[in-house]
């Protein structure tokens, strides 16, 4: 079975725990699963927080929640940019793609 982009949902890897510290000049996040530290912008940090709060959400649902949390219009962060961001987070093993 082929999974299309619209059917993809996202969750954290099993056993993953993320710690955030929000500073004026950036958000520092600790990946407790592997002990790595990352500097994130608000979009990436909020995306991770949404995925952590609601595992399995589809990309479009994450996008809607993200725009709401950041209080920005869709033009400021199109869905395609969020897809790129999610796959970059997946490369870092911070999120996993799951079939809906």
């Amino acid at each position: 079975m082929v999974t299309t982009k619209s059917e993809i949902g996202w969750r954290l890897p099993a056993g993953q725990r993320l710690l955030f510290e929000d500073f004026d000049d950036g958000i520092v996040m600790f990946d407790a699963l592997v002990g790595a530290t990352h500097l994130l912008n608000a979009s990436a940090a909020e995306t991770l927080a949404i995925v952590e709060d609601a595992p399995g959400l589809a990309t479009t649902d994450i996008h809607r929640r993200l725009l709401d949390r950041l209080s920005i219009p869709e033009a400021a962060l199109p869905l395609s940019e969020l897809e790129v961001l999610l796959w970059r987070l997946e490369d870092l093993n911070l999120v996993c793609a799951v079939a809906q």
Partner: protein, 306 residues
Amino acid sequence: MRVGSLSRDDAQTRMAANGLALHIPPITVRVRSPLRFLAEQMRDLYCDYELADAGDFADVDIRMVRVRGIRNFPHTEVQFIVDGTTPFDPFPLAQALPMFEWGLNWVFAHRMHRYLLLHAAVVERGERALVLPAWPGSGKSTLAASLSCRGWRYLSDEFGIIALEGVNVVPFARPAALKNESIDVMREFAPDAFIGTLYPETRKGTVAHFRVPTQSILRGRAPARVAAIVFPQFNAGASVSLSALGKATAFLKLAGNAFNYEVVGERGFRAVSALVRKSDSYVLRYGDLASAHAALDDIVRRTHMQ
């Protein structure tokens, strides 16, 4: 009883037999060696440190022994043995003391994971400690030694030892390893300071050790509250400048500077977070000691006004 109260003969005899057990808070180090010149050099540099009893527990047991050189010249090199293991190749015999100092740094960095270990000098004035994180060559040892000759308390020239709960820094006040030009700089800056034997042609060039001022050793068990983090950058002849750092930027610089950030894991993340939240952070660029001192005095004054 302090090391300096031993006669030279007593120090040599003890070190050759059961060893000299030194309280160098937060640890106790036992050194055993038949090398009479090493006992004499250590007595000079560690004269104000308390001696532990021979039977007391020592966190680290070090032996410094002669070994044959690589071409089988007899007795030309010295081996550092810690708790029965030999982590390094031997050094030339005359460099026994620098080898002891570097070896002890290595042991500390590899074992003391109950703390977050920053690669940093630490000094304190007026109950305000400044952590000076930097990699080798940035002048942190010279800066810390020179400050200690102007009324600052010297906590370390190498390790910023951060308690994993809270934001206190723990002293590990040991001789500062001055290298190359900084030896003459310190001799000129503080002619009364004790600077030990010159060791030319070590792996780091010429090295000599600055003896920690007595007052700093007497307060060697007292932690200090961190007031600011200052990343020093020495450039000969440069004018002084002090730039404030954002907290996320300071966080990443500190985590990258630590010896054991990855080892202590989440506790290290929390310790660095607490440290940068409660302290201002700066980059200090300087070209001479006097201007660096003025800038650091100013930081301490500011923290008193906050």
